[in-house]
């Protein structure tokens, strides 16, 4: 990956002034995506290989920097989805044939990807999904409806998870690389959200979609194991981005409390005000250390479910708290429609929901600790 290209893009991103942010964050910008792609971010896993490597750590560092530099949290979220759902998944589990056919465009960012997991009756309860992949000859036929699929309205490929049936036997979940232009795939139904508006989210309808067996990713029935690993990377990357976003808020808040004067002095000199920023910084240090520790260990021999769930819960909740602190120190100005802070709040809230809801993750930690339920 070209370090210079990345640095140039970061410099470019520092451009837009605060007053432009709300406008910038109303919808997905293909132009910005294109420039992010040219920076080489999506190719940062290229030296990952099957046995890990520096690629993931580079990606984590860059996504954190993106979160710190870009005012557009939706762009960061969509970028993380591309990296985890498509680039990592293909690199880690797909056949050489699939990698050769789809990775170049995914890593160049010219083909936008996502993964189709969630359904109306199967959110956290992923094993309850109704989408099926039935083997007929040398093709799987996919049927079902997915919801809340990040990038779906702009995606050209999706990794679809479906219950697999082969010779009348249920094989569990499998993962399939599906092109959105294929007959029977409909990604036209967007689901406008209250936050992360620049990250397009929508439904994916699959009706008798014929998928060649060569497009199955990994072993038949290995979907849950693949999804487990993909989600671990998605969480690592997404919440590295959150740490960067919190750093951005702290810097904004420091600038504000030093500049704003009340009672003849800067409001930051009031320790109650300063402490709100300090609390956010403490969370940045702790969350950042957790992310780095996980990135160091994830390709080793340890089972990482508990550390990753703990990091996700801690950072997502700290992220919301840091926005609330930032709004508080900005006073009425932070609550204006023209302020980016209310948008930051709506962007931060779903962190407790996506990639596994925090309530469910707490339950999972309890179960893994051996607490009988």
């Amino acid at each position: 990956m070209d370090e210079e290209q990345w640095s140039m893009f970061m410099k470019e991103l520092r451009g837009p002034g605060e007053e432009e942010e709300p406008e910038l964050r109303k919808g997905f910008s293909l132009d910005l995506w294109g420039r992010l792609s040219e920076s080489g971010l999506f190719a940062s896993l290229s030296d990952m290989g099957r046995d890990g490597g520096a690629g993931l750590k580079t990606a984590v560092r860059r996504v954190r920097e993106l979160g710190r530099t870009s005012p557009d949290r939706g762009l960061t979220f969509s970028a993380v989805t591309q990296l985890a759902s498509t680039v990592y998944c293909l690199r880690g589990f797909a056949s050489k044939e699939l990698q050769e056919r789809y990775l170049p465009a995914a890593e160049a960012g010219t083909a936008i990807g996502g993964h189709a997991i969630t359904e109306a009756a199967a959110g956290s309860d992923v094993m309850n999904m109704a989408t099926t992949a039935t083997l007929r000859g040398d093709t799987y036929v996919l049927d079902g409806t997915k919801r809340f699929i990040t990038n779906a309205p702009v995606a050209s490929t999706l990794v679809v998870y479906a219950k697999t049936v082969e010779d009348g036997e249920e094989k569990g979940l499998s993962a399939f690389l599906v092109e959105t232009a294929w007959p029977g795939v409909d990604t036209s139904r967007a689901m406008p959200t209250a936050g992360l508006r620049s990250s397009p989210i929508g439904e994916v309808l699959l009706e008798e979609v014929e998928v060649p067996t060569s497009h199955r990713i990994g072993y038949s029935g290995a979907g849950l194991l693949i999804l487990d690993q993909v989600m671990k990377r998605e969480i690592l990357l997404a919440f590295a981005g959150n740490i960067g976003e919190m750093e951005r808020l702290v810097q904004r808040s420091v600038d504000h409390v030093n500049e704003r004067e009340q009672f003849g002095t800067s409001i930051g000199s009031n320790q109650l005000v300063a402490n709100r920023i300090v609390e956010s910084q403490i969370a940045i240090e702790l969350g950042g250390a957790l992310i780095e520790s996980i990135a160091d260990r994830i390709d080793g021999f340890d089972e990482m479910t508990i550390p990753i769930a703990a990091a996700k819960i801690f950072i997502s909740e700290a992220n919301v708290a840091s926005v609330l602190n930032a709004i508080q120190v900005h006073g009425g100005n932070g609550y204006l429609e023209t302020s980016p802070l209310p948008i930051d709040l709506m962007d931060a809230l779903p962190g407790a929901i996506y990639s596994g809801s925090n309530d469910l993750l707490r339950t999972k930690i309890a179960t893994m600790l051996g607490i009988v339920n």
Binding site: R50, G52, G92, Y219, L224, D228, Q229, G300, M304, M368
Partner: protein, 85 residues
């Protein structure tokens, strides 16, 4: 102790406490009998990684090999550090 016996010991100690490891058949379907669930499979893989130094987060795993104690033992023996691939 052979790998298969270590696998049976772990499974009966953690997930099937009412069965002795000697009574657990090597070819029992752990999924069909409900001994292994999605969460306990993750725990089992974690144990495999820690105990036998298998990079469980970085290798594609065929779920069929995790269905039975003998399959799990074969998986361990083929992936543990120093195993011939």
């Amino acid at each position: 102790m052979s790998t298969i016996n270590e696998v049976k010991d772990y499974i009966t100690e953690k997930f099937a406490k009412d069965i002795s490891s000697e009574d657990l058949p090597s070819d029992i379907d752990l999924n069909a009998t409900g001994i292994l669930t999605s969460v306990s499979t993750v725990q089992l893989l974690g144990w495999c990684g820690r105990t036998y130094r298998i990079p469980i987060n970085s290798i594609p795993i065929d779920p069929d090999v995790l269905k039975t104690p003998e399959g799990i033992a074969k998986f361990i023996d083929s992936h543990r550090v120093g195993a011939d691939k």
